[in-house]
C-alpha cells in the first residue's frame, strides 16, 4: 500500500503546473492575467493581497478549467471540471448552459471571462470526482480464473484478450473447462453488405406476408447457411447472435457502438436498458404526439414537460422532481421561484411525501398503480363540468388551430370505427365516401367532414362528443370514447380505488382548470412502471390536451432540442451514417422481439405466444436474459455487456443468474465496466472502460429546457486505464478501443485506416467524436456556424489540457481527425463544452419557440388494433383504468401485508454512486425499509428493527449470488408519517454485493472490499414475476416497462 501511495503521488504525465508556469512566464505569461479582469470588469482580487497572505484562487483560473458533461445520472448536466496539479479536484455547473445557470452566459463570452462564474450541480454531480477516482477502478483486462462469479480473476494483456474473444477455442482450459468457446469470428457469418440488404428486403416481404419462407429459401439458397435458422429467415443472420446489452449510453457513444454492432458486426441486437427507465412514458408521449405523414404515424416527441418557468399549476404524479426526474438541477429553480413568488401551485400524487410533495399545496398519497384512475376521475370532473377547452378540442386540422392562434390540435373529434363492439381504426374519408384514404372524418353540425390533419388552409372543426352510425358502421369520436371510459365510475368509486378523497380530486380538478393554458400534468416512473402504465400515461397526457396547454408559455412545452451532431442534415461536414463503406444494415427479429408484431413473424403459432412481443417498444431490457434462457426466438452466442447491471437493476433480475452462469446458454460473456460490478462479476472477461470524465460523447438534450442545447463530453483528465496499442495507435483502454481492436482483428467495415472512406481513418476515438463536434460547430442551417477560436482561445485550449497525456490528448492527432478549417471552430465548441442557445430565446410572445406543432392524439389507432401476444387480448387505443395483471390478463391478487415501492435518492444514482463517499455514503450510510407508523404499530416494528422481506415470487426472501452464496433480503425499519399506510418503500442504490463492496482475488492476491459499500437493502429479488414467463418481472405490454410498484410483500422480524 505504501508504495502504491507513492506511485499515486508522482506527478501525472504531461506538463505540470509548475512547468506550465515556467513556459508561460517565458513566452510572456498569457492566460495568467486572465483572472484579473472578468466579465464584470475589475474584480476584487486586488484586495486579496491586503487581507490574506493568499495566492490567487487556482480553481478560478481559466487554464485550470475544462467543460464537459456529467453522467452521474442520466440527465447529463453540463459541467465545469476544475483541475489542479493534474488532478480533477472540483466539478461545478457549466455557466454557458441554461440547464446549469439560468439565464446562461452568452455563448460568445470568452472562457477566460466565464471562469469566474460557477453554475449549479447536484450532489451527485459534485461527487463525480469520487466516481472516477475510485480505488476499485479497473485498469487492466480481467479474465476469470475460476467459475463464473467465483470472484477469482487474472489480469491478461489486452491483445491476448482481444485475440481470445475473437478466435474462441478452449479458452478456459487452464481452469479445467474443456468447452470450446465460440469466438466473435464465428458469429460474424455474413459480411457482404449487398447480400445483407437483399436478405433484409426479402425478410421484409415475409413479414408483410408477401413472400413465403419456401420462396425465400429458394431465392437465397446459397446464403441459407449464414442464417440462424433457414426455417425462420426472419431471425436474420447468425450475426444476430451477438448481443450488445447496454445501460446508460449517451448520444455519440450510442452511434459509435451502433456503428460497431449494427453496421460492422451486423447484429440487430443493440439493446439498451430503457424499459427499466422512463420508457412507457416516453413511448406514450411519442405515440400521442406523432404526426401523420404519407398515410403513416411517425415522429413524435418523447418528453413534453411543463414550462416550469411560467406555469401556474402542476399536478405531479409519480416523479420526484427535486430528487430524480430529468432532473433536479434544471427543474428546481423555476419551481422554487414560482412557489415562493406565489406564481406556482403544486399538487403531488405519490404514495410517499417526496421532497416536492412536502412543498405542495396538496399531497395526494394515492395507492400505487391507480394513477390512471385518478387521471380518469379528473377527466370525468372536467368533462362533466365543462372545464375543458372546447374551442381547442374542436380544431381538427392545422388551419383550424391557426385560426385560433393555436399551434397544435387534436383528434378529439376524429371518428373511430367500432367493430365487434370494440373501437378499431379511425374512419378514413374514403370509407365514408368523402375523400381519400389519407384523410380522416369528423362530424360537424350534422355533417360528416373529411379532414386532412395537416391542412393549413381549410379550417376543419368537429364535434367532440359523437356517437353515431355511418353506412352501418358504428362511430364514436375519440373524446367520446374517453368520456365513456371516464364515466364508467363515479368520483366516489375513483376515490375508493385511489385512496384519494373525492373532495381532493375535485379540488385538484378545479385548480387544474383554473389557470387557462398555464397548467400542466407532469408524471414519470411512479405512474408508468406498472402493468397498466401505458393507460395511466395516456390518461395523464389527455389531461394536458383537455386544457389545450401544448406550446403555450406556462403550458406543456417541448424541449429545446439541440444541434444535429450526426450530420444527417444538409451542409454538415460529416454525415456519419453515410461515412461507412461496406456498412451492413442489420435486420431480423431482435432478441427481445421489439418493433415486431407477433403475428408478422414466422414464429406465430396462436396465443399464448411463448414469450411476449413488443411491437410498440424497443430496448426491452428485462426480456434479454429470459429470452436467452428460452432460446426464443433464437439462442445467443456472445454477449457484450456495457455500463449496465441487470443483476442489480432489473426487478427480479437475479432470477436470471442461472442463465448468466450457464455456458450453454451464454457461451461467451464479455463485460465492459469501470469496476467489477454486480453483473460484470459473472463475466468471462472484463474490459476496463473509462468513466464519463475521461471520455467523449455528445451528451443528451435537456428535457426541461426550452432552448437549443448540445453538450459535448470530452476527456478532462488522462484515462486511468492502461494504455494499449491498436493498429499502431497508442490508446487508453476503453469501450471504443475494444471495438476498434475487434474490428481490426476481424477486418470489419467502418473502422481502421479507411473506416470513414478511403484515407479517412477511424483508428482513435477522437477520429469519430471530433467529427461530431464539427457537425455541431457547423450548425443546422446556413450562417449557423460558430466563430473560429482566436489565438488566445487556441492557446487556452492547449494550456487547459496540459495535464492530459498523449494517448488521450495529442493535438496533432486531434487535428488530423478534422479538416484544417474546422479546427478552430471545434476548439471554440470544446472550450465551452458544447453549444448553447441563450435562454432568452425560449419564447415567442406568449408561446414556446420550439413547438410540438402537430396533431395530438387521445386515441392511438395502431395500438387499438394490436393484440397482446400472450393473452391474445386487444389493447385499448385510449386511456382506460386497468387493474394490475400479468401477461395472461390475470389480476394480481393481494399477496401480502404491504405493497412494495421503490424510489431514488437525490444523492444517489442507480448502482453507480456507491463509491461516492462525500455524497451517497456521507449523506445516508444505508437505505431503509420505510413504512408508516400505522403499519409499524400493526406489525410490531419500531425504528431500527431488522426485518426480512418475503414475496410471492420469492417466498423465502433469498437473494442468490451464485456459487452457493446467498443472502436474505433484509433491512432496517424506518417509521415515518410521510408514507401511505399499506405501502413499504425501499430506495435503490444500496445493498451492493460487488462494486468494491466485496473481496475479490486478482492474480492470486485478495483485494479487500470496503464494508461502507455493502450497507443497506437491495430489494430487487423481491419483485413480482410473471407466472407465465419463467423469471421475467411483470411488465407493461405496450411501452414495455418493467413493473416496479406492483409487488405485495410480507415483512417480518429478521
Amino acid at each position: 500500500m505504501e508504495s502504491k501511495q507513492k506511485d499515486m503521488k508522482s506527478k501525472p504525465k504531461g506538463l505540470t503546473r509548475r512547468d506550465f508556469l515556467k513556459t508561460t512566464a517565458f513566452v510572456g505569461g498569457t492566460g495568467l492575467l486572465a483572472t484579473q479582469t472578468g466579465i464584470f470588469g475589475k474584480i476584487g482580487v486586488a484586495h486579496a493581497a491586503t487581507e490574506t497572505t493568499g495566492e490567487v484562487y487556482e480553481l478560478a483560473k481559466p487554464e485550470n478549467i475544462l467543460y464537459t458533461t456529467c453522467l452521474q445520472c442520466t440527465v447529463a448536466c453540463m459541467v465545469k471540471a476544475k483541475i489542479y496539479d493534474g488532478i480533477l479536484t472540483k466539478i461545478d455547473g457549466n455557466p454557458y448552459s441554461a440547464t446549469n445557470l439560468m439565464p446562461n452566459l452568452p455563448y460568445s463570452l470568452s472562457p477566460v471571462d466565464a471562469a469566474q462564474v460557477d453554475g449549479k450541480a447536484c450532489p451527485k454531480g459534485q461527487a463525480g470526482i469520487q466516481h472516477t477516482y475510485d480505488p476499485y477502478r479497473l485498469r487492466k483486462v480481467l479474465k476469470r480464473a475460476g467459475a463464473r462469479g467465483s470472484g477469482k480473476w487474472k489480469t491478461i494483456p489486452f491483445d491476448q484478450a482481444v485475440d481470445e474473444i475473437v478466435s474462441g477455442g478452449p479458452l478456459f482450459k487452464d481452469i479445467g473447462e474443456e468447452r470450446q468457446v465460440p469466438g466473435l469470428k464465428d458469429i460474424v457469418a455474413l459480411r457482404d453488405a449487398k447480400v445483407y440488404s437483399d436478405l433484409a428486403a426479402d425478410v421484409g416481404e415475409i413479414r408483410k406476408k408477401k413472400l413465403t419462407v419456401k420462396e425465400f429459401q429458394e431465392k437465397h439458397k446459397e446464403h441459407l447457411e449464414v442464417l440462424i435458422d433457414p426455417e425462420h429467415p426472419d431471425f436474420g443472420p447468425k450475426n444476430n447472435q451477438f448481443l450488445f446489452q447496454v445501460g446508460r449510453i449517451h448520444n455519440g457513444r450510442t452511434e459509435f457502438t451502433k456503428r460497431f454492432v449494427n453496421n460492422a458486426m451486423g447484429s440487430i441486437n443493440w439493446i439498451e436498458k430503457t424499459t427499466l427507465c422512463g420508457q412507457t412514458s416516453n413511448k406514450a408521449w411519442v405515440r400521442s404526439t406523432m404526426a401523420y405523414k404519407d398515410g403513416k404515424w411517425s415522429g413524435g416527441v418523447k418528453t413534453p414537460r411543463p414550462d416550469w418557468a411560467n406555469v401556474e399549476f402542476v399536478l405531479v404524479l409519480g416523479t420526484i422532481i427535486f430528487e430524480a426526474n430529468y432532473g433536479p438541477v434544471q427543474e428546481s429553480e423555476p419551481i422554487t421561484d414560482g412557489l415562493v413568488s406565489g406564481r406556482l401551485k403544486l399538487a403531488v400524487a405519490d404514495p410517499r411525501l417526496t421532497k416536492v410533495a412536502s412543498k405542495a399545496w396538496k399531497w395526494l398519497p394515492l395507492k400505487p398503480g391507480t394513477d390512471g384512475a385518478l387521471g380518469l376521475a379528473i377527466i370525468r370532473w372536467i368533462l362533466e363540468n365543462n372545464r375543458f377547452d372546447q374551442r381547442y378540442l374542436e380544431n381538427a386540422n392545422a388551419a383550424a388551430a391557426k385560426a385560433d392562434k393555436e399551434t397544435t390540435w387534436s383528434d378529439a373529434s376524429y371518428l373511430v370505427k367500432i367493430k365487434d363492439g370494440r373501437p378499431g381504426k379511425y374512419l378514413r374519408a374514403d370509407e365514408a365516401g368523402l375523400g381519400s384514404k389519407e384523410q380522416f372524418v369528423v362530424y360537424r353540425s350534422g355533417n360528416f367532414v373529411a379532414v386532412d390533419p395537416n391542412d393549413a388552409e381549410k379550417v376543419a372543426e368537429g364535434d367532440i362528443f359523437v356517437d353515431t352510425v355511418l353506412n352501418g358502421i358504428p362511430l364514436k369520436s375519440a373524446l367520446q370514447l374517453l368520456r365513456e371510459e371516464a364515466y364508467k365510475r363515479s368520483l366516489d368509486e375513483y376515490a375508493d380505488l385511489t385512496g384519494i378523497k373525492t373532495q381532493d380530486i375535485i379540488d385538484v380538478a378545479q385548480e387544474f382548470t383554473a389557470h387557462g393554458k398555464k397548467a400542466a400534468v407532469e408524471f414519470y416512473r411512479g405512474s408508468i412502471k406498472h402493468t397498466n402504465g401505458w393507460y395511466n400515461a395516456q390518461a395523464l397526457i389527455a389531461l394536458n390536451y383537455l386544457i389545450g396547454n401544448p406550446d403555450w408559455k406556462g403550458g406543456l412545452a417541448k424541449p429545446g432540442g439541440g444541434w444535429d451532431y450526426i450530420g444527417s442534415k444538409p451542409n454538415k461536414p460529416y454525415n456519419m451514417g453515410k461515412l461507412h463503406p461496406g456498412k451492413l444494415s442489420a435486420f431480423g427479429v431482435p432478441l427481445t422481439r421489439e418493433g415486431w408484431q407477433y403475428e408478422e413473424s414466422t414464429l406465430f403459432a396462436g396465443y399464448p405466444g411463448k414469450r411476449p412481443w413488443y411491437p410498440f417498444s424497443g430496448n426491452v431490457a428485462q426480456e434479454t436474459w429470459p429470452s436467452i434462457a428460452d432460446g426464443y426466438p433464437y439462442p445467443i452466442k456472445a454477449v457484450l455487456l456495457h455500463s449496465h447491471t441487470p443483476m442489480y437493476s432489473v426487478p427480479g433480475g437475479v432470477h436470471q443468474l442461472r442463465t448468466l452462469l450457464d455456458p450453454n446458454k451464454v457461451p461467451l460473456l464479455i463485460a465492459s465496466d469501470i469496476v467489477i460490478g454486480e453483473t460484470s462479476m459473472y463475466a468471462d472477461y472484463i474490459f476496463p472502460d473509462i468513466t464519463y470524465l475521461e471520455r467523449w460523447s455528445t451528451g443528451q438534450m435537456p428535457n426541461h429546457y426550452r432552448v437549443k442545447t448540445t453538450s459535448v463530453r470530452q476527456p478532462v483528465i488522462p484515462a486511468l486505464t492502461e494504455t494499449v496499442e491498436v493498429d499502431g495507435e497508442k490508446l487508453p483502454l476503453c469501450l471504443e478501443t475494444l471495438m476498434i481492436a475487434i474490428a481490426k482483428k476481424l477486418g470489419l467495415s467502418g473502422f481502421g485506416a479507411n473506416g470513414f472512406g478511403k484515407g479517412i481513418p477511424l483508428k482513435r476515438p477522437e477520429d469519430y467524436y471530433l467529427k461530431l463536434v464539427a457537425n455541431i460547430a457547423y450548425g443546422d442551417k446556413d450562417g449557423d456556424t460558430v466563430p473560429d477560436a482566436d489565438d488566445k482561445e487556441v492557446a487556452l485550449f492547449r494550456d487547459s489540457r496540459r495535464h492530459i497525456s498523449s494517448e488521450t490528448y495529442d493535438e496533432k492527432a486531434w487535428q488530423k481527425a478534422l479538416r484544417p478549417e474546422e479546427w478552430r471552430k471545434v476548439v471554440y465548441v470544446l472550450n465551452r463544452g458544447g453549444r448553447f442557445e441563450s435562454s432568452d430565446k425560449a419564447y415567442v410572445g406568449t408561446q414556446e419557440r420550439y413547438q410540438l406543432g402537430s396533431i395530438l392524439r387521445f386515441y392511438i389507432e395502431e395500438v387499438a388494433t394490436s393484440r397482446h401476444s400472450i393473452s391474445g387480448n386487444y389493447f385499448s387505443g385510449y386511456a382506460v383504468y386497468q387493474e394490475i395483471q400479468d401477461s395472461m390478463g390475470k389480476k394480481i391478487p393481494v399477496e401480502g401485508d404491504l405493497k412494495l415501492i421503490t424510489h431514488k435518492e437525490v444523492f444517489a444514482t442507480q448502482s453507480r454512486t456507491i463509491s461516492n463517499y462525500w455524497s451517497q455514503i456521507g449523506l445516508q450510510s444505508q437505505n431503509y425499509v420505510e413504512m408508516s407508523r400505522q403499519d409499524a404499530q400493526r406489525l410490531g416494528f419500531k425504528n431500527g428493527d431488522l426485518v426480512r422481506i418475503k414475496s410471492h415470487s420469492n417466498p423465502e426472501g433469498v437473494h442468490e449470488l451464485g456459487n452457493g452464496h446467498q443472502r436474505y433480503v433484509e433491512g432496517t425499519v424506518k417509521v415515518m408519517e410521510g408514507i401511505l399506510p399499506g405501502v413499504v418503500a425501499v430506495s435503490t442504490s444500496y445493498g451492493h454485493w460487488a462494486y468494491g463492496s466485496n473481496d475479490v482475488i486478482v492474480d492470486e492476491v485478495t483485494i479487500h472490499g470496503d464494508p461502507r459499500r455493502a450497507t443497506g437493502t437491495h430489494v430487487q429479488p423481491m419483485f413480482r414475476l410473471d407466472d407465465n414467463l419463467r423469471g421475467t418481472p411483470l411488465s407493461e405490454p405496450i411501452g414495455g416497462s418493467v413493473s416496479f410498484y406492483d409487488t405485495w410483500v410480507t415483512v417480518q422480524k429478521a
Binding site: 455514503i921 456521507g922 449523506l923 445516508q924 450510510s925
Partner: protein, 413 residues
C-alpha cells in the same frame, strides 16, 4: 512486593509511552473522539487530576494558613500530591491537543476572553507556587538530608535544597523557621484563590460554554471546587492511612481528615442534587437528555456505582464503621473509594454533555464515524492514560522514598 509494585508501574509507563508515541506520530485519529463528541477520556483525567491537585493543595493551605496543627503531618503530603497530580493533569491537556507542539502558543497568543487561556496561566503560576511552598516546608529536612544521607539520596537532597543550609545556631534556626512559616503562609494565602481559580476555573471552562446546556450552569464551577476538595482530602486520607508512618497522632489526624472528607462529600452531594433537580425541572431538552443519560442511560453506571456508590455512600459507611475500631485501614479505603469514585464524577461531568445533537436532526444530516454522539475510549487513549498515571505514581513514589515527605526534622535528632 515493592519490586512488583515498581515493576508494574514501570511496565504501565513503558506501554503508556508506546501508546503516546503512536498518538504523537498519528495525531488525533488514534482516539475514538468525534467531531461531535470532542472531549473524552483525556479531558476526564485532566479535570480529575486538576481537581485532585487543587483539592490536595487547598487541604495544605488549610493546614499551613489556618494552622490546623492537627494536620500538619500531612501538609507536605498534600503539597506533594498536589504537585504530581498537577503534572499528570497538565500532561493530559498536552496530549489532548491536536497540535501539542504548539502548546506554548497559549503563552504567546493571548485571548483574554478565554477561560482556558486564563487557566493555563493559572496552572503555571500554580506550579510555581506549589513547588515554592514545598521547598519552603521541606528545606530544613532537605538540608539535613544533604548532610546526613548517603550517596544518591544526599545528592538529590543537596541539589533540591538549592544550597540552603539550616543555620547552625538556634537563633538562626528560629529566624529561618519564621521566614519559612511566613512565606508558606503568604504563598498559601495567594494559593487559596489560585487553587480555587485553578479548579473553579477549570469548572468554568465548562460552565461558560453556552453551546453545552449540561455544563452551562453557574453551579458547575462550585461543584468543581467542592469535588476537588473531596478528591484531595480523600487522596491524602488514603495515602496517609496506608503509607504514613506509624506515629502517635496518626489516629487523630486520620479522624480529622475523614471528618473533613465526609463534610466535603456532604456538601458535594447537596450541590449535585441541586444541579439535577434544577436541570430536570428546567427541562431544557439538551440538558434533560444529558441528565437522563446520567441517571438512567449509558452513564448510569458511573452515576450509581461511581458517583453515588464509591464516592458518596461507601466512604461514609466505611468512615462510620472505622470510628468504632478506630481503623486506619477502613478510613484509607474510604479515601481510595472516593478517589476512584471521583473519576466517575469527572466522567459524568464531561461526557454526558455530548449525548444530544446541538440542533435536533444534526446527527442524521451527515453521517460519518467521526460525526456521532457516542464515544468509548480507544485502546491508545486508555493505555496512554494508564501510562501517564503510572508515571505520576512512579515519580510520586520515588519522591516519597527519596524526600522527607512525612518525617519532620526527625532525621537530625
Amino acid at each position: 512486593m515493592k519490586r512488583l509494585y515498581y515493576l508494574l508501574l514501570f511496565i504501565l509507563t513503558v506501554v503508556g509511552f508506546w501508546a503516546l508515541g503512536v498518538r504523537f506520530s498519528n495525531g488525533m485519529s488514534v482516539t475514538n473522539l468525534t467531531s461531535y463528541f470532542s472531549w473524552g477520556l483525556w479531558v476526564v483525567f485532566y479535570i480529575f487530576f486538576i481537581g485532585l491537585s487543587a483539592g490536595s493543595f487547598l487541604l495544605s493551605t488549610m493546614i499551613y494558613v489556618f494552622k490546623m496543627h492537627a494536620l500538619e503531618k500531612v501538609g507536605r503530603l498534600s503539597l506533594m500530591s498536589a504537585l504530581f497530580a498537577l503534572i499528570a493533569g497538565l500532561s493530559f491537556v498536552l496530549i489532548d491537543l491536536g497540535h501539542p507542539e504548539r502548546f506554548w502558543y497559549t503563552l504567546v497568543h493571548r485571548n483574554m476572553s478565554s477561560v482556558l487561556e486564563w487557566e493555563i496561566h493559572f496552572y503555571l503560576l500554580y506550579i510555581v507556587l506549589v513547588v515554592g511552598e514545598l521547598w519552603l516546608v521541606m528545606r530544613d529536612d532537605l538540608s539535613a538530608l544533604a548532610e546526613s544521607a548517603q550517596g544518591f539520596r544526599s545528592k538529590v537532597a543537596r541539589w533540591l535544597s538549592l544550597g540552603y543550609r539550616v543555620a547552625k545556631e538556634e537563633e538562626g534556626r528560629r529566624k529561618q523557621k519564621g521566614t519559612s512559616e511566613r512565606w508558606v503562609k503568604i504563598l498559601g494565602i495567594i494559593g487559596i484563590p489560585l487553587a480555587l481559580g485553578v479548579h473553579g476555573g477549570t469548572g468554568s471552562i465548562f460552565a461558560v460554554s453556552i453551546g453545552m446546556p449540561y455544563w452551562n450552569s453557574s453551579i458547575v464551577p462550585i461543584i468543581f471546587i467542592v469535588s476537588a476538595l473531596v478528591s484531595g482530602s480523600a487522596l491524602v486520607t488514603f495515602l496517609y492511612a496506608f503509607f504514613g508512618q506509624e506515629e502517635r497522632e496518626k489516629p487523630e489526624i486520620l479522624n480529622s481528615l475523614s471528618s473533613m472528607l465526609v463534610l466535603f462529600i456532604g456538601i458535594d452531594f447537596v450541590l449535585v442534587l441541586a444541579e439535577f433537580l434544577v436541570g430536570l425541572y428546567g427541562a431544557i431538552p439538551a440538558d434533560t437528555e444529558s441528565l437522563k443519560a446520567v441517571i438512567a442511560g449509558q452513564y448510569g453506571i458511573f452515576f450509581w456505582v461511581g458517583q453515588l456508590g464509591l464516592a458518596t455512600v461507601l466512604p461514609i459507611l466505611l468512615i462510620a464503621r472505622s470510628r468504632k475500631g478506630n481503623s486506619a485501614r477502613l478510613k484509607g479505603l474510604a479515601g481510595l473509594s472516593t478517589v476512584l469514585g471521583i473519576i466517575a464524577v469527572r466522567v459524568n461531568l464531561v461526557l454526558p454533555a455530548y449525548v444530544v445533537p446541538k440542533i435536533s436532526g444534526l446527527d442524521k444530516a451527515y453521517v460519518d464515524s467521526r460525526l456521532v454522539y457516542h464515544y468509548a475510549p480507544s485502546a491508545i487513549e486508555i493505555l496512554s492514560s494508564l501510562g501517564i498515571i503510572a508515571l505520576a505514581v512512579l515519580l510520586f513514589s520515588i519522591a516519597w522514598e527519596l524526600l522527607p515527605i512525612i518525617k519532620v526534622s526527625e532525621i537530625k535528632q
